[in-house]
Symmetry: C2
Subunit: 766 residues, 2 copies
Amino acid sequence: MNYLKDKLWQIEELGFDSKYLGKTESIMALGNGYLGTRSAAEEHYTNERRNTFVAGTFNKFDENEVSELPNIPDLWWMDFIINGENFTLEKGKVSNYSKRLNLRTGELTREFEWTFETIKLQFTFRRFVSKARRHYLSSLVEIKNLAEQSARIQICSGIDGQVTNSGSQHFTEGEKGLIDGRFMQMMPRTKDSKIDFVFTVAHDIKAANVSERIEMGRRQIFMNYFFDLPSKESALIEKRMSVYTSIDNDLSNHQAAAIRQTAISEMKEIEMHSFDDLLNESSRKWEEIWNKHPIKIESENFKDQLAIHFAKYHLHIMTPAHDNRMNIGAKGLSGEGYKGHTFWDTEIFMLPYFNFTHSDIAKSLVTYRYLGLDGAHKKAKANGYEGAQYPWEAANPTDGEVTPVWGAADIVTGQSTKIWSGFIEQHITSDVTFGVKQYIDVTGDKEFAEEKAYEILFDTAKFWGSRLEYNTEKDCYEIRDVIGPDEYKEHVNNNAYTNYTAHWNVTYALNLAEELKENQPVLFEKLNQKLELERVLSDLEQKVDKIFLPQPTEEGIIPEDDSYLEKEVIDLSNYKAVDGVDGLFHDYNLEQVNEMQITKQADVLLLLYLFEGLFSHELKLKNFDYYEPKTTHDSSLSLSTHAILAADLGKLDESYEFFKKACNIDMGEYMKSSDDGIHAGSLGGIWQMIVFGYGGVRMIEGQLRIEPHLPNAWKELTYGFDYQGQSITVKVTSDGFELTKEANGADITFISKGKNYTLKDRLQLS
Amino acid sequence: MNYLKDKLWQIEELGFDSKYLGKTESIMALGNGYLGTRSAAEEHYTNERRNTFVAGTFNKFDENEVSELPNIPDLWWMDFIINGENFTLEKGKVSNYSKRLNLRTGELTREFEWTFETIKLQFTFRRFVSKARRHYLSSLVEIKNLAEQSARIQICSGIDGQVTNSGSQHFTEGEKGLIDGRFMQMMPRTKDSKIDFVFTVAHDIKAANVSERIEMGRRQIFMNYFFDLPSKESALIEKRMSVYTSIDNDLSNHQAAAIRQTAISEMKEIEMHSFDDLLNESSRKWEEIWNKHPIKIESENFKDQLAIHFAKYHLHIMTPAHDNRMNIGAKGLSGEGYKGHTFWDTEIFMLPYFNFTHSDIAKSLVTYRYLGLDGAHKKAKANGYEGAQYPWEAANPTDGEVTPVWGAADIVTGQSTKIWSGFIEQHITSDVTFGVKQYIDVTGDKEFAEEKAYEILFDTAKFWGSRLEYNTEKDCYEIRDVIGPDEYKEHVNNNAYTNYTAHWNVTYALNLAEELKENQPVLFEKLNQKLELERVLSDLEQKVDKIFLPQPTEEGIIPEDDSYLEKEVIDLSNYKAVDGVDGLFHDYNLEQVNEMQITKQADVLLLLYLFEGLFSHELKLKNFDYYEPKTTHDSSLSLSTHAILAADLGKLDESYEFFKKACNIDMGEYMKSSDDGIHAGSLGGIWQMIVFGYGGVRMIEGQLRIEPHLPNAWKELTYGFDYQGQSITVKVTSDGFELTKEANGADITFISKGKNYTLKDRLQLS
């Protein structure tokens, strides 16, 4: 990838190499939260992944598979046949190749010259997914003939419904046809979830003496355009595309026939605007996002500034802000990985960005969890518990658990291996609570708290009450047989992260109950009726002080779980020096790693970061020094936590190394890392490293803390956030930091280095 | 395509051109009747079609689609990564490229040298589908390093279940695993028909210091092999593959678990043989076919001899001779075209070859129609008729009609167009009868006649009895609203071919009834009980003489249907001078063609050929001269009929032109013609043109006729056939012809040029 100091909004690939198709498709993905699409080329390549997903349109291929986001028919498809030769960058000579994404406007550009035998053409491809019109996509292609002789051009462009999710087909073929002689439409339906889709495509071609022929193949409809392109002349083809579904919440009529009409009407309106007008309209919507709390980093490394543009861009294209029945997938909408499912990644990694900067979007995301109570009840019941046990993987909120049960076969025995996360990776329930609590603390959204958040907070505590297992010998409540954040360790007892967060969840519910009983008895009674709170709380009160919280050893180390510290320690430094964990798993198999003190990702350290108020600086330091060398960062959720904790602990150089590595998870050179899609959690992590890590912002037990500390490479950092309805901007230099807020709101109190401060409109601290 | 005078068993492509992928995949397809596979390259191309089908394993994707043969997971897949570069013939320099099929042995070879940057490798690919072991496929790849420096090779080879039928996925993912550390297995199941498949693959690699790693992706399992190939050295990889299904009739236990064991056991046995041994074993089975009635043509054009090798080869790889629940698809097993369905093509075009040379295979094919009575009853009942109305398209014999009801959308209205063939292309029923009758006449298989054929013959006549429509005005029985062989004309009345063949079907049944009543009263009574014959026959007797048979006009022309001769005549000669009908349909649409005297394929002329005894030479001549100029041959079933009829009529030069064109339907240069698969009917046509056309063999009303006449380009023709259990060889020269038969059998009587002859062991006629 090519990054330029003076192009801080640009991701660029120079020179074509088909090995990087997967990477550029992902990191240059386009979208608007309603839909997301990989930036696959117009023409085809054998190792491409032509994926486009519409948020929330889950379908289940068969009873052996779980719901996933279906890969919709390919709209970008355009093949070129020049003098009878299929055009591909694999053959001939390619020069001045550049593929680049403008993060600021969401425009993708690809341009190059192609020479093959006597053909010499210059191609320029531009496209965008409209941020202003959620259903609309646009593509503009210019072909210039650089050769001395004219070229015979055939363009084949349309809708290709032969695409699948790696072989699983979610759609019926559906009707297809040409409306009014110019609008191609295709109307497939998801087979199980019965969602109707309407795709509409129209072309506008500028070339002399074009002849055209429509063709319809199986699951395909496309136009063929034929024309001669004289020497030194150019031709232009504009492709206008739209996507609608019968679950769209901006439609008044959800019948396929009505949707077809709506799509045609919109297309007719759009025809009156130029590509550039439509792009500008979309860019203006993007400007609104960029103007909201822009982050400015004066760094020795310009990529740091680029990284936060990159992260925010992707956080917005992947987030279905328009519909609270939907949430963010672990790969956003940029790949088939994780099937579009929502994990704890949302609450712990992406939600904080929205909580602090886009409370409207954050509200939609937490509302999804409220709607998900139904699914969480299903899961609790199925597992013999009560209350709300959130699914490890979530699709439609009411679905409950959708984690696949069976994974790849064991390569030795040939038997399928069971995926345990859906059963025993239970910290997701307190993670959701954590996110919801942060939302109400940061936004001060009382209405949401009273109508939805408190119910979640009580209902999850109710689950934990039923989940706790009494150990008569030790007279305590344990949580046995779980997977913690460190997924190398399956079936462990008393994972520290799980137990502490469950304890926090229960404690918080008990405190909240006290408060409500006193201040909002009507609300409390309502919740009591719904959740049997009196019974539940009395049970929790009996148990809470006996929940087993793994205590530090004599050396001050909090055991990751009951058995971790007794396992073998090996030196991982050589494995950690290189990208990926191939080296480790070349030498050891998963069973062996399970028996060693090797941690996949921040686990105890994540606990120390998220609940910093519970632990001393010294304890954190000891645990950081203990666990970091044992952590492989074999999850994209890991590095940002280590970066922030290291910054908290004053290890700023070390922190900055983590920061750079974390930014490179997708932006770096590692070829295959983004093939299945972008790493959504790590993008949230980039924002957190900057604002929480170096900006020093934290919510601790309902209290705002601001304690910046910049890495040496940074001269100045400016960031902003919303806090309980007010907008705060923080400018940090090596000398100190300055806070400003809108003039009219209430004073804001916060802590910094143990002291309380009050921000009226401006405050300078050293 | 490159054809050589001294390689009369070889189909070859010289020089790589990705535009011809579809063609060579089809015409060089491999198979053994159990399965058929397109000869797609090991490595991938964007416009390839990687299809493999197992006969009879029909599945229906959803309620909007019809049953089709599912494209099974790709076993041939092998990707090569050389010094980190994906190998493809689209890039670098390719020299000495040859892809060729040995029709005699069924071996496919592909070889070339590939130069890319500093890489220079010689590749040799060999593969075959065993004719001796129906479940077994084999691939052998040799890579020689021609460069001065060593090359780093990665081979990625396994089973890819992501393939679909143009986007429709028929399989569940199924289990997959590695058995005994070396046998990859994948076990998908068809979703609707619930057929279990077991695929087993093992590799044997000969190279130094190979490291390997197994990978499992979604619907994929594959091995990665890594090694350095020193300058001037070679590496060899052998891939052994097998395919089993739970409907295989050679299995004693049809449970998936048992099949897996069977497959592994077979693979272990196979491992003890070399690639060449296994190929030789398969070739010996092919020799048995080649030794059965070899056809020798001494022609000015060596391609004539090659064409019959080509035709026979494909007729055998596409025909599921092993299982009478299965029949031949219109594209054999070589493409998705026509979904693997069986049409009238079988009885009218392919079956005669088997009737006359492989009566065991013919018996299996006609038995399929006997089993198909169930389906034919269903269809008759659904349409308000009685008896057996055979489906226009057939899949499993008991399915009944499987012709798709809706076709491509009308490009103007955007509405789907109805496909009428399944409803009104009704001549299929008498076509089936014709084939069955020919089978019993040629083979003299009395047991089949009594147990199955007579029932078909009566039951189809019963259908026609119920189908006839009385015209009070004309006091006759008509067959209105049909499609005849000329599919340009939909909804016509009294199509000559349909009416005459229906009349023949009824007449034959009446005559047969008389004969059985007299000679086999017990059998007759049995059939009477089953089919209510007495009632049916008495009804047919009332009707038979009033069935409307279109009579010649004053000019001696039999009208194709009631309205044909009143339609406009246009000069087609310019359109007919070029391949295909694109020109015609550029100037006229289908509706316009429907209103003109334009015929898609032999229709009246086919009637004159098949029922030659009913029509005079003069009438045939007049009709040939009338209809030939009006026929576009826009069906691969047309040219061979014109060739034979022209030969019958003494137009030998004209006939030979048709012959050459007919041979070129698949073997010719026309690039796209075979993309969807080989033209099965036209291959049967090649055999018929030689043996029926120039060899002059015919069965007329149960009587053998032999009346050879060679085209001028041919000096000598030798062919043979089986007749009522005896083997007859015929050698034709310009002077006359010589017949020989096995010494021990009964005398054989036949007609030639109006005279009766008796063949004892040898006979020379001038």
